[in-house]
Structure formats: C-alpha cells, structure tokens
C-alpha cells in the first residue's frame, strides 16, 4: 500500500510526537485526572496508525512488524498478572496494594495503580495496532 502526498506526510511527521506525548500523559496521570489506561492507549495507537497511513506499509513494517506487536501485547497482559501476584506473595490477597501509598495528589502515589494502568495502556495500544495490521496484510496479499 503506497503512502500519501508530500503535504500529508509532512503534517503526520510533525504531529506524531505531540499526539504520542498527549497519550502518554493521559496514561501516566490516570490516578489524578480522568482517563487512565484505556483512552490513553487508544490515543497512542491512533498516532501510530496516522503515521502508518501516511508513509505506507512497506516502510512501517521494517520498524514494527506483526510479531513485535503480538509480543508487546502479551507483555502488557503478563505485567498485570505479575503485579497481582506480588500482592499474593508479600501480602494477603491477589491484586492487593503492597507498594507505599504516598501523599494525595502527587504523581508517585496510590501504590500499584499507575503501574497497572501502564500495563493496560501498552496492552490496548498493541491490540489496536495489531487489528489494523491484520486487516491490511490480508488485503495486501489479495491484491498481488
């Protein structure tokens, strides 16, 4: 699948860092502002998909192929279960908080909540990019 014109490519390349930063901000501040892992992961995936559409599939596949996206999604899922097992090993219940709580309203507070949201953000990002890849690869093989 070929890319798009020069104007679209320039604007996509300029907008990618800002959109990625905005998505990462929403994921990391999930315990202070509305949002969290799920909408933040979708925003990051949207920024990567915008770059994919502007530059074409061939150039993007050298950076991150199908296998890397699958591995990334599994890493996100395993991170959530491992953090839950921490609670089982050190404390009493599965997914219970064993990290220090901190002050209300700071970035490093609320125990294992930001870490859990980080895992969910990675999982959602990789999942949506994987759906996009699967559809594009199926249609590309049909065209040739």
């Amino acid at each position: 699948m070929a890319g798009m014109t020069v104007i679209v490519r320039t604007i996509a390349r300029l907008l990618f860092p800002f959109t990625f930063l905005f998505g990462a901000y929403i994921v990391l501040h999930g315990h202070l502002t509305p949002g969290g892992g799920f909408p933040g992961g979708v925003i990051i995936a949207a920024s990567v998909v915008m770059l994919l559409l502007a530059y074409g599939i061939e150039r993007a596949q050298k950076r991150m192929g199908l296998l890397q996206a699958e591995v990334l999604e599994s890493i996100g899922g395993v991170a959530i279960v491992v953090l839950g097992l921490f609670g089982l090993l050190l404390g009493a219940f599965f997914l219970q908080n064993v990290f220090p709580l901190g002050d209300l309203g700071q970035l490093f507070s609320a125990g294992n909540l930001p870490l859990l949201y980080l895992g969910v953000g990675i999982k959602v990002t990789a999942g949506i990019i994987l759906i996009f890849y699967a559809m594009l690869f199926a249609f590309r093989e049909e065209k040739e």
């Binding site: 202070l32 502002t33 509305p34 799920f38 209300l104 309203g105 759906i131």
Partner: protein, 119 residues
C-alpha cells in the same frame, strides 16, 4: 422532567429499530452501537446528585475531604460503564470482521440472502 432518562430510552428504541428493520449488515451493526450507547447514558444518569461535582479530588478540596464526599456524584456506575465501553469496542470489531468475511463469501450484504450453508 428527567430528560436524561427519556432520551436514553429513545436511543434504545432507535437502536432496536435499526436492528430489526434495516437490510444492510453494516447498518445493523451501527444500530447495535447506538443501542449500547443509550444503555450507558441511562446507567450514568442513575447516579447523579443535584448540584454535584465530578468524583475527583483536586485543587482546594484536598483539605476538606468530608465536604467533598457530601457533594460528589456516584463513582460506581462510571467505573462499570468504563468497562462496558471497552467490551463494546471488542464486540463491534468482531462483528465488522465477520461482516467483511461474509461479504467476501456471498458477494452481498443483505441478511435475507445469506441463508444457506452453501459451498
């Protein structure tokens, strides 16, 4: 007049209309999405408090936590609707992929022509 509830039920009725009376698979899937959105609106409107604020501690509320708890809106339906929105995405993704697959196999998107298990 509780307008929230009435409009949520109108959305549900619109979604059911699209599910029953449209003859295109993609339009039926859009009806599914509208139906689920109506249910989400209804669930969130149940937990409203008159003159309430969002359930997020910010700014000058840090020193006045009992006052915050007397003015905030119910957080439990909002958390459940968050889960439900993500599950709605998964259902729509799978339904659309099946619609593309059926179009490839049968050549048409009319559900009354996709009947026999033909080979």
């Amino acid at each position: 007049m509780d307008l929230n509830y009435i409009f949520a039920m109108l959305l549900v009725a619109l979604g059911i209309y699209c599910l029953l009376l449209k003859r295109n698979l993609i339009k039926i899937i859009i009806g599914l999405a509208v139906l689920t959105d109506g249910i989400h609106l209804f669930l969130i409107s149940i937990g409203y408090r008159l003159g309430g604020t969002a359930p997020i501690v910010s700014g000058e509320m840090f020193s006045d936590l009992p006052g915050f708890a007397a003015h905030a809106v119910d957080p439990v339906p909002q958390a459940l609707v968050l889960t439900s929105i993500v599950i709605n995405i998964c259902i729509l993704a799978l339904a659309l992929s099946l619609a593309i697959y059926a179009y490839r196999h049968y050549g048409t998107l009319d559900p009354s022509k996709i009947r026999r298990l033909k080979e």
